[in-house]
Structure formats: C-alpha cells, structure tokens
C-alpha cells in the first residue's frame, strides 16, 4: 500500500511569476481514500529562511471541508487559482531569504496530516552579494 501523497502542479509547468500575474495549479491526492479525509487546506504563502527567526504570511488560503457538493468540497484532486501580490518578491539574500510556495495540507482521520508543497519564484530579483564600498 502506497503512503498518502499530495502532488501539486502549476499550469504550464511555470515556476516563475510576475507580480500581479495569476498563479493557477492543480493537486492530486494518491494513496488515500476519500472517506479518510477530514479536511483539506490549499494555501499560497511566503516564508523567510536564513539567519533570522522565520516569518510567514499567507496570501491565499482555502479550507475545503469533507462534506458538501460545492466547489470547495474535498475531492481526490482539485484546482486553485490566485492573483499574486506585488510584494514581497522572492529573494536570495545573504542572511534574509524569501521563498514562495503553494501548499496543500490534508487532514486524515486519527490526527494524521499529509503536506505537499511546490515552490515558485515571484519576480526576478537576482541573488544578493556583499556590498563593495
């Protein structure tokens, strides 16, 4: 039996986006029966990496409950679409790094969780280098 996994794909296999552009993607769940799923959360977020303590902010968040027939109901696969903000742009600094990603988190019965994540770039800021006076 395969372990439960979440696979995320961006439409057009794009991994780099401009501010204001629409990010569209889909996800598929495998190794899990629909009856086992309690809820599912789709989010598009940025978080910092590097020397400082981690900061995080969610730009898009949607929680899909298990029951119901509407578009927000949990299904083995789904789509999401979100217009990206003008900031903060993805950044590879010396001690501050900003990383964007789409994340799908499935809540299974018995308190289990499965997380799938796919990073992408927002903007095209080049990596930073130490300043030379």
């Amino acid at each position: 039996m395969t372990p439960p996994t979440v696979e995320i794909r961006f439409t057009g296999n794009g991994r780099s986006y401009r501010p204001g552009e629409t990010l569209t993607g889909d996800y598929t769940l495998s190794g899990v029966k629909p009856a086992e799923i309690k809820a599912l959360e789709v989010s598009v977020l940025w978080q910092t990496e590097g020397k400082g303590d981690e900061d995080m902010a969610v730009h898009f968040f949607e929680r899909r409950p298990p029951d119901g027939d509407g578009p927000a109901a949990v299904r083995p696969g789904g789509r999401f679409s979100v217009q990206l903000p003008p900031s903060p742009l993805s950044y590879q600094g010396l001690i501050v790094k900003i990383r964007w990603c789409a994340r799908v988190r499935i809540f299974l019965n018995r308190g289990r969780e499965v997380v799938g994540e796919l990073p992408f770039r927002l903007g095209d800021v080049p990596p930073a280098h130490p300043a030379t006076p």
Binding site: S43, T48, D53, E54, A57, S87, P88
Partner: protein
C-alpha cells in the same frame, strides 16, 4: 529505532521540531491554571470584600448601642506590629442584650498606631454614664454589629491581582483554543486578516497595496523646502546623549555623597579609610563619564544638522529621482558624499538572547564633492540625481527579517572627527512607471 513521539527538540530560538499538539496542550494547561487561580482569587476577594460591605450597607438593621470601652487592637505581623480600633458596645434586641468588640465589618489592621488612635478619639468612653451611638447589626446573626458603614474604595484595588490573572490566563486559553488543531497556514491567514482589520494601519503599506513593506508615512508627512519630501534622520543623537547625561548625573551625585561622608569623617578625626578607598575609583569613573559626555556633545554639535530632500516617495526600483542636500557651516570638508545603501537585518534568538545581524548588500555613491569650505552662516546646497537600480530587492519588513534602504551623508572633515548621518527611504518593486 525511531522514536514514536518527539516531545520537544530545540534547534534554535523559536525553531522547534517535535509535537506541536503536546506543546499547545502544555501551554493551555499553564494558562488554564493561571485562569483558575485568577477565578479563585476573584471569588475570595468578592466574598471577603464586596459581599460583607454590601450587606452592611443594605441588609444590616440600624439600632443604638452604649459605648463601654475602647482600645487599640494589635497584631504582630512579619513586617511589624499592626493596629486596629476596637470598641466595646452593648445593645439590646427584644429581651436579649448583646455585648461585643467591633468597629467596621472588615476588621482591618492599619500600619500606624496614630491613625487608629485618631479613629478612637471620635468616640467618647464614659464608664460611669456610657454614651449612646448608632450601630447596625446583622439580622442573620444579631451578635455581629458595626459602628460605621460605607464602602472602602481603595480596597477594591485588590481586584487588580485576580483580574490580571483572569485576563492573562483567559487570553492565553483563547489564543491556544484558536490555534488548537489548526495548521500554521490557517493561523497565519487568520492573523493576517486580523492585521488588515487593524484600525491603526493606514493601509498604505504592510498588507495594503504592497504587503510586507515598511510604512511610508514617516517620510511623506514631512514636506521639503526645495523638493517634495524631507527625509527623516535615523538614530537622532538626542536620546543617546540624554541617557549619557543621566548616567553622568546619577554616577557623580552618588560619588559626591560618598565623598562628602568620607571627607566629613576625615575632618572629624575619625577617618574611614575603606570608604575613602572605595570612593576614589568611583570618582575617577565619574570624571571619565563627564569627559566622554562633553566629547560626545562637542562631536554632535560640531556639525550642524544635515538636510536631505527627495523629489518623490516611496521610491521604485529602477526609478530616477532628484535629491537636495543642504549642509550648513562652519566646516572644512575633505570630502562630502551621499551613499545609497541597502542592508539586510535578521533578528533571532540564541538561547535567551535576542540577537540582530546586519549585512550590507548594496552601496553606491550618488554624490561626492572633494575639498569644500563652508563658512560660518553659509550653507552648502546641491541637487543631484538618484537613480535606483532596477534589479534589486525592494524594502521588506517582517517581525524578524528586514531589507532596509537608506541614504547616508558621510563627511570627512579637516582636523575633526568624521560624521555620518543616515536617512530612511522605502523602495517598492520596479514597475512600468514614468520617471519623475
């Protein structure tokens, strides 16, 4: 064998691996305990303070009594003896005569004997012909009576302690309950929405038009004289100087008092050599502080204030702007330069310490003038271009991480210490935008 459950594994600061639910449960247990202690304290305070005074004022029945005796009650406490007024009264209800020592319902002790004696002086004790006074007795227990009624408002301050426990514990419980079983993304989405509802946010920054950027109001609320905005100076020397002056005064006053005591001892022929030896190094430290303070004052006031104005704000990466620099004299300048700088700042916890690390990632000279003489009463003024690179990171501000842009005015002076003044600017990401 892998462990089934990670209770708590600390990596650094707030970064932890382990069982989030167990941690949340521990937090909620702690705050639940604080809340319960607060509730118990509230109940006890209510029962001890509010209910007895309310009953005296609303349920006790008025009567008259005869005053038989008066004394100062004493209680030996840890911090000394405490006192309270005690008056012996006698009153009759139907066929029964009650005799008791009383004053008010609280029976509280006072720290000063004089205060209690002043209370007792209001009552006249006559053993031969006892005087009559009004009293109030408890209908539920007629043996309980008081000579004074009213509310002790300052006593209600006692409520501050249990109320603070209830607020802290309740707040922690609510916060824990709001996070319980919720993912980090859900909590972040919730707090993000709460921040956007913040009435004090102007909406011109942060999660407004450009999320995670610093506020621009500090710049745009100060109009310039030549260009649109006057840039605020960072790290004004006023507060550090004030702190230094305060340290100078405190240190030297302490030294003066100790020195006075030591000198008095010497003059009276009973010198205390230990205290004299103790004062000498402190006196030296006081003098060093005074010298350092005067040097700092001379350094700060030696260079008159620098003014820097910008043609627009916030700035956009890739944009072209105008800068106005004004530097009054008198100064003999070897070089005067304006630099555009960008720094990354990361704040983190290391053990119990909060640390900050800053790295400069961009430094570019936008103006430079060599060998300049600014006479007393004259002002050097210049307007120059400020061109921001297009392929750079914009200003970014989050609780623990920051990308900060600024302008530095750096002066190298003839025969004097160099000076540097920093001005904050906010840079937004590059957009298709006409140049100013």
């Amino acid at each position: 064998m892998a462990r089934l459950i990670r209770v708590y594994e600390k990596k650094r600061g707030h970064r932890c691996t382990g069982t989030g639910k167990l941690g949340s449960a521990g937090e909620m247990l702690f705050f639940g305990g604080v809340f319960l202690i607060g509730c118990a304290g509230l109940v006890v305070t209510f029962a001890q303070v509010v209910i007895p005074e309310w009953r005296v004022n609303h349920e006790f029945i008025a009567n008259t009594c005869r005053l038989l005796d008066a004394r100062v009650g004493q209680l030996a406490a840890e911090d000394g003896v405490r006192y309270r007024p005690e008056l012996q009264i006698e009153y009759q209800l139907k066929d029964r005569v009650y005799r008791t020592w009383t004053y008010d319902i609280r029976g509280a002790y006072y720290p000063g004997r004089e205060e209690v004696e002043a209370i007792l002086e209001r009552f006249e004790v006559d053993p031969v012909n006892p005087r009559e006074y009004p009293c109030w007795y408890d209908p539920a227990d007629p043996s309980v009576a008081v000579l004074v009624r009213g509310y002790t408002w300052w006593y209600w301050l006692l409520f501050a302690v249990p109320v603070s426990f209830v607020l802290i514990g309740g707040g922690g419980l609510l916060y824990g309950a709001a996070r319980w079983g919720r993912s980090a993304e859900r909590v972040a989405a919730w707090t993000g929405r709460a921040a956007r509802l913040d009435l004090f946010q102007s909406g011109k920054n942060g999660d407004g038009e450009y999320p995670a950027t610093p506020p621009v109001e500090n710049v745009t609320n100060s109009p310039g004289t030549r260009l649109k905005y006057r840039l605020p100076i960072l790290a004004s020397p006023g507060w550090p100087l004030f702190t230094l002056a305060l340290a100078c005064v405190v240190c030297n006053v302490v030294v003066a008092v100790l020195a006075g005591i030591a000198v008095q001892g010497h003059l009276s022929g009973d010198p205390d050599w230990l205290s004299t030896l103790f004062v000498i190094p402190f006196g030296g430290a006081g003098l060093v502080l005074v010298a350092f303070f005067l040097r700092q004052v001379a350094r700060v006031t030696a260079v008159p204030p620098t003014l820097l104005e910008v043609s627009d704000h916030p700035l956009f990466a890739g944009g072209r702007y105008r800068l106005f620099l004004s530097q009054p004299g008198k100064l003999e300048v070897r070089s005067l330069a304006v630099l555009l700088v960008c720094e990354e700042e990361a704040r983190y916890r290391e053990g119990t310490q909060r640390r900050t690390e800053v790295r400069r990632v961009h430094e570019e000279e936008v103006f430079r003038r060599e060998k300049l003489t600014i006479k007393r009463g004259a002002t050097f003024e210049t307007v120059c271009d400020l061109v921001l690179p297009s392929a750079v990171m914009h200003s970014f501000q989050a609780p623990n991480n920051e990308v900060r842009w600024g302008l530095l005015v750096r002066g190298r002076l003839q025969g004097r210490a160099d000076f540097q003044r920093a001005f904050a600017i906010v840079v937004y990401p590059a957009v298709e935008r006409p140049a100013v």
